[in-house]
């Protein structure tokens, strides 16, 4: 059960990537989460993904809300700037940061309470604006940090640790993201690194609103019988749609697969997503079909995971706003201040 272990790597820590960084350069201070918390596995997956993509850690900005999940950015990519903002509002802070400097990679980490309860509006609006980001919800169906209340992703009928039954309809963030126009939508499980790491890599290379709902059991408050977000429950109900290889523009494809079982999606930047399909008839480019497939399977109690939808030619908010190539935060007096001559004309117009 590797997913239960604290993020300890079996690989030698000091092997260097193309940039000359070791994996340690992508780590952060020791986590203060509970031993076995799913969130730590997500951190580990992020570290691996960024390391393997040869991204310089300081070119990533990590942003989060409040919650155990939102604490995790402290524990990975110690050389990146991070922002632990306020509860439910990471999306707006991330959007603003992105507006200021389009050249960094924006990684937003949130929880199910943070995104589906208090933050639902900001989640929805950041997605529909097409902010270029990777938005990961570490979804445990519970409020970890405040000690075990139901969150809005708790399934109807799920039982709390104290025995209460949830009566409200669950919010399915994947369904929402699909409806709201996210251009990359995936779901995964903190316990399944093989699926999660390439998904994060693909999302990091996606130039639009990429959303990943990552089931991430809370061992302290939501890992009991009757929970639908426990390790056991997820493993039993997980239905992987596809499995993914992420291939950067530089890499060559070596292994060959039988036709039909593999689909290659080429992204704008030349990187490729190679999908080994498990559910044959699933079309990863059909948003509407994806949504109804999700819902049908959910009605049968299945948790569909994998890459659910991708638009290889997304448009992001900067494209909508037609901003210049240069990051806005790098513009100085000369570029920004029109000066007295312009002001004279303006004054004249007011006479």
């Amino acid at each position: 059960m590797t997913f239960m272990a604290k993020p300890k790597f079996h690989h030698p820590q000091l092997q260097k990537n193309a940039l000359g960084y070791t994996r340690r350069d992508y780590e952060g201070p020791v986590s203060t989460l509970c031993a076995g918390c799913g969130h730590d596995s997500i951190s580990a997956a992020i570290i691996r993904a960024v390391y393997e993509l040869d991204l310089p850690p300081h070119r990533i900005a990590k942003l989060s809300g409040i919650g155990c999940s939102s604490k995790t950015p402290t524990y990975f990519l110690g050389a990146s700037h991070g922002f632990n903002s306020v509860h439910g509002r990471m999306p707006s802070v991330l959007t603003g940061a992105n507006l200021a400097n389009k050249d960094l990679i924006y990684l937003g980490i949130s929880g199910d309470g943070d995104s589906a309860s208090i933050g639902l509006g900001q989640f929805a609006h950041s997605v529909r604006r097409g902010v270029n980001m990777v938005y990961i919800v570490a979804n445990n169906g519970v409020y970890g940090l405040t000690k075990g209340q139901f969150s809005a992703t708790s399934d109807k009928g799920a039982k709390s640790k104290r025995g209460a039954l949830n009566k409200d309809e669950a919010i399915d963030l994947v369904g929402m993201a699909l409806q709201l126009g996210a251009t990359f939508v995936g779901r995964s499980f903190s316990g399944d690194k093989d699926q999660l790491v390439p998904l994060i890599k693909a999302a990091l290379n996606h130039k639009g609103a990429a959303f990943i709902d990552c089931l991430s059991p809370c061992v302290a408050f939501n890992n009991h019988d009757g929970s639908t977000k426990s390790f056991d429950y997820i493993r039993e109900h997980n239905e992987a749609l596809n499995s993914l290889d992420f291939i950067t523009g530089r890499q060559e494809i070596t292994v060959e697969y039988k036709p039909g079982t593999v689909e290659t999606v080429t992204q704008h930047d030349g990187s490729r997503l190679r999908l080994r399909k498990i559910a044959d008839d699933y079309d990863v480019h059909d948003r509407i079909a994806a949504l109804s497939y999700m819902q049908q399977r959910a009605a049968h109690g299945e948790i569909v995971t994998g890459l659910l939808y991708v638009d290889p030619e997304p448009q992001d908010l900067h494209a909508h706003l037609n901003t210049i190539e240069q990051p806005l935060n790098s513009l100085g007096t000369h570029a920004l201040v029109p000066g007295q001559t312009a002001l004279d004309k303006i004054n004249a117009a007011f006479r």
Partner: protein, 613 residues
């Protein structure tokens, strides 16, 4: 037709009067009204208009009040007018009531009005505007629009307006649409000629060309502030529509489209997002500012309330954020189209926990521009939210103002930034280290350096190296440094401006923002009746030493404001440790702009009762 209704001595005046247009909103009267004010200005006479409009789109009463004053007074004079242009039957009675004895009523007499609907002590001028317009035009929209222009023509004849000036304005307004110019000129003369033909100069109020306007510009505060944001180097604007602040953000968009599009690529050197709500607006501003862009939002009271949590974050995490608060009458939704200065306390102490914020308080469009730009330098230097406190009165009414000025040698002051070079050179970086003893630490922008200078920003407590800490000592040191920083701000914000009375006096008055023209004029009037007061116009919080000195210098200081609680007075007492007994609260808070009449009366009363005692 002219009803001569037992006319008393008529008001006689050249270039000193108040005219009020009573209209229905959505009826197209606004542009004819604006033409009136501009014509007077073009004639070299100061004119100050005020819109009084309802919180609705169409069909309810609106007024456009213009103070014409060769002497240069910009304030609302009082509740009355000298000439009422009564075009709205819904408000007829109250409109008639508000005319000064000896004043004038101008109305559309197409529809018969019974004699008992008038007053005996005013001169009534009826002009068949609707009839003329209906006779001349077919199309209902034209009939509506040109009726207003015919009315303007009639007024021009009655008041002696320069029709050439009006015609010039048409030409400028409809540049390239010559047909429209001609049509308007025709309508104008229709009204003008009717008056000349049918009436015998009944109005003894006149506008005469003069030379009191100078190089001043005629602009509203929101537009000025938005231009300030352009000059202040703002590149990110995140806003949510709310009266009376929307035109500030919209103004920014307009100016950016003109001044900030890269010529070569046709791409934008700015990003403006209309957000889903005010929480998102301030969140984006904070995110952008954290990431090194200058960013702002514009809002009004309800937005300020919604932003409270985020404002506390910006204070504690030390993020520059500029917030324009165009104040309106609160609490709650209150009166969205009425003016007030009632967010002073809420902004100064915004958010739970111990906080204190920087406020800039402009008095007019000129300062809206100036402080609008300055706010960004201050926010960057102080790494904290800065509020620019406008109000509806300043923000949404055009008024004369000094022309905008810019020192081309001025650079954006980005404050204490540690760059890649600094870090490379081995400069010690600790995000919350008070290296200079002014409470202001250095910051780095995200992505600056591959291995140095990264830090984690949070709303929780931390040590000076930005590491999470629940240690009481770290917390307290940090909170005390923030106080020191606030004290540093005292020396950076615009100082209060003092105007000494001609004669020595025991009495001072502190006032701010849109109260300024009423106070200035009242001060003159009071002086004329032998009452002298020294004035201090506060322009920012925290208060500089000059404010404390001014209060110390006077036996009593009146604090004049447009809110119920006397909010600035509370701030003065609380922050400067002033004995409340020497600060006399004077408040005006019914949502109408404060008038010269009110200020003069209340100060003379207070002083005479103090002197009596």
């Amino acid at each position: 037709m002219l009803h001569k209704v037992n006319t008393q001595t008529k008001i006689q005046s050249i270039n000193e009067f108040v005219i009020k247009f009573a209209n229905v909103n959505g009826s197209g009267s606004a542009s004819a009204n604006a033409l009136f004010a501009k014509t007077v200005l073009r004639m070299g006479v100061v004119a100050t208009p005020r819109n009084i409009f309802p919180s609705n789109i169409q069909g309810l009463p609106t007024w456009y009040e213009v103070r014409v004053s060769e002497a240069g007074h910009l304030a609302a004079r009082g509740d009355t007018c000298d000439l009422m242009v009564a075009m709205n039957p819904q408000t007829w009675e109250q409109d008639i009531r508000s005319i000064e004895p000896g004043g004038y009523l101008f109305y559309d007499n197409t529809r018969h009005v019974a004699a008992d609907q008038f007053r005996n002590d005013i001169t009534v001028i009826g002009v068949p505007l609707t009839q003329m317009s209906n006779d001349a035009y077919e199309n209902p929209r034209q009939r509506q629009l040109f009726k207003n222009i015919i009315g303007l023509g009639a007024l021009a004849a009655l008041l002696g307006l320069d029709t050439k000036a009006i015609e010039d304005l048409f030409t400028e307004q409809f540049k390239g649409k010559e047909k429209l110019v001609a049509a308007n000129v025709q309508a104008l003369h229709m009204g003008f000629d009717w008056v000349k033909t049918h009436l015998d100069d009944p109005v003894h109020i006149k506008v005469k060309a003069a030379n009191t306007v100078g190089d001043r510009i005629f602009v509203d505060g929101n537009t000025a502030a938005s231009l300030g944001a352009v000059y202040g180097g703002a590149t990110v604007c995140a806003w949510y529509p709310i009266t009376p602040s929307s035109s500030l953000a919209e103004g920014f968009a307009n100016y950016c489209a003109k001044l900030r599009v890269d010529k070569e690529t046709d791409r934008n050197k700015f990003a403006i997002v209309q957000t889903e709500d005010e929480l998102a607006s301030i969140g984006m501003v904070i995110g952008a500012a954290w990431n090194g862009a200058r960013a702002f939002t514009a809002t009004s009271g309800p937005g300020i309330s919604l932003m409270q949590e985020f404002i506390g974050l910006a204070y504690f995490a030390e993020i520059p954020a500029v917030i324009f608060d165009v104040q309106r009458a609160g609490p709650s939704t209150g009166m969205p189209t009425r003016t007030q200065q009632s967010d002073i306390m809420t902004c100064a102490y915004a958010s739970h926990g111990d906080t204190k914020h920087v406020l800039l308080i402009p008095e007019d469009p000129y300062e809206c521009f100036e402080f609008g730009a300055l706010a960004f330098d201050l926010a960057d230097r102080l790494q904290t939210p800065v509020f620019v406190m406008l109000d509806l009165e300043i923000g949404m009414n055009e008024r004369l103002s000094k022309p905008f000025q810019w020192d081309d040698s001025r650079n954006l002051d980005r404050g204490k930034i540690m760059t890649e070079e600094d870090l490379e050179a081995g400069n010690k970086f600790g995000r919350y280290l008070d290296v200079d003893g002014d409470g202001i630490p250095f910051r780095t922008y995200p992505g600056t350096h591959p291995s140095k200078g990264a830090f984690f920003t949070r709303g929780t407590s931390k040590d000076s190296m930005a590491r999470y800490s629940e240690e009481g000592k770290d917390y307290q040191e940090n909170m005390e440094r923030l106080l020191k920083k606030h004290d540093t701000a005292r020396h950076l914000v615009p100082a209060a401006i003092e105007k000494r009375a001609e004669k020595p006096t025991r009495f001072g008055v502190i006032y701010y923002g849109s109260t300024s023209p009423a106070m200035d004029e009242a001060c003159q009037l009071l002086a004329q009746s032998g009452i002298h007061v020294d004035l201090l116009r506060v322009r920012a919080f925290p208060f500089g030493d000059e404010v404390k000195a001014f209060i110390a210098d006077h036996e009593k200081t009146f604090v004049l404001e447009q809110n119920r609680e006397g909010q600035l007075r509370s701030l003065l007492i609380n922050e400067l440790e002033i004995n409340p007994a020497i600060l006399v609260k004077i408040v005006h808070f019914d949502g109408a702009p404060i008038t010269v009449g009110f200020v003069t009366d209340v100060i003379s009363h207070k002083i005479s009762s103090l002197q009596g005692a």
